[in-house]
Amino acid sequence: MRVAVVGKGGSGKTTTSAIVARTLARHGASVVALDCDSNPNLGLSLGVGDFETERLESMRESLDAGGEEHAPGWDDLIERFGSDAPDGVRLAVVSRIDNPSPG
């Protein structure tokens, strides 16, 4: 299945996503948790901690910096830039705002 969780800020999107992801994983599903927020906090709710949540670079930035001619496949991206969360969930961050210049 492919699920997107949306809603107003502060309504519980991240918390809900993390619980759904870990619950699915506990039932044996293979789960990729994608943090598509420009202010990515999903790592905190999944339980990877403050440090790892901040350390995780966004896939978009990593690709921009790498200057690759062809984008790798999604599984390759998640393997290279993702992080392991509890219950076997694989977490990846899609984009993050790291500087204030408009773009």
Binding site: N99, P100, P102
Partner: protein, 254 residues
């Protein structure tokens, strides 16, 4: 003063900003409240029962052939200050209110006439006429990509949760800009326990200039789309925002 309220979505920016505007205006100071969130909510916290308040078409015109700048601007001869006097809504206690306006396209990319003019007004407003209090979009994507440039004081609203604290640290970094020197401080919200304020200070590295307690009445006002200062004037949270106005009194324009 030129203030911008920022913070993670749902931390209480609009409720605090609206109450802050009203409390400042009650002391007799001229206040311009600006809502630059494309999901606007400040009007209700000010006590204005409107959800969308674009500038009227007559205030905005397409730029002339060969003219520099964006496609739409204030009509010729209309200054930013005039535009506020003529077209900004008036909230209780005399607070003037200007709104960026809702997203009107599904891609969120197209700015409409009134939205171009909004950006122009914020850029060109005189320094000494109003205390400008802005409620900026939640999260880290928008506040410092032009929206917060007017601000000399950035108030990061933080609740004592890991996500809000992480967001505050990111915002503090993003707000630091040599081209736009500004004071960056925290306001703790939804404070429930001893130690919450200290934790906000420690984990953001910021001076905490206000501490707003968790308050059922304050939250209830938001649910009813009403201004906390009208619905719960004596509540501890409203009193805390009034203290914040006092705390920042040296920044005021009389």
């Amino acid at each position: 003063m030129r203030v911008a309220f920022v913070g993670k979505g749902g931390v209480g920016k609009s409720a605090i900003a609206g109450t802050f505007c009203r409390a400042l205006a009650r002391q007799g100071h001229p206040v311009l409240a600006i809502d630059s969130d494309p999901l606007p909510g400040l009007a209700f916290s000010l006590g204005l029962a409107i959800s969308d308040a674009p500038l009227p078409d007559e205030a905005v015109e397409e730029k002339a052939e060969g003219e520099e700048g964006p496609r739409f601007r204030l009509r010729a001869g209309l200054t930013a200050a005039d535009a506020i006097d003529e077209y900004a809504a008036t909230a209780p206690d005399g607070v003037r209110f200007l709104q960026f306006g809702k997203h009107r396209s599904s891609t969120g990319r197209a700015l409409f006439r009134s939205q171009w003019a909004f950006r122009q007004i914020i850029r060109e407003l005189p320094e000494d006429r109003w205390n400008i209090v802005g409620d900026l979009p939640g999260g880290t994507r928008q506040p410092f990509t032009g929206w917060g440039d007017y601000a000399r004081l950035v108030l990061i609203v933080v609740e004592p949760t890991a996500k809000s604290l992480l967001t505050a640290r990111r915002l503090s970094r993003l707000a630091t800009d040599e081209e736009h020197p500004r004071r960056i401080v925290a306001v703790a919200n939804k404070v429930r326990e001893d130690g919450d304020v200290e934790m906000v200070a420690q984990r953001t590295g910021l001076e905490v200039v206000g501490a707003v307690p968790w308050d059922e009445e304050f939250a209830a006002a938001e649910q009813k789309l009403a201004a906390p200062i009208d619905l719960a004037p004596d509540s501890p949270a409203v009193q805390a925002v009034e203290s914040l106005v006092e705390q920042l009194s040296e920044e005021r324009i009389a």
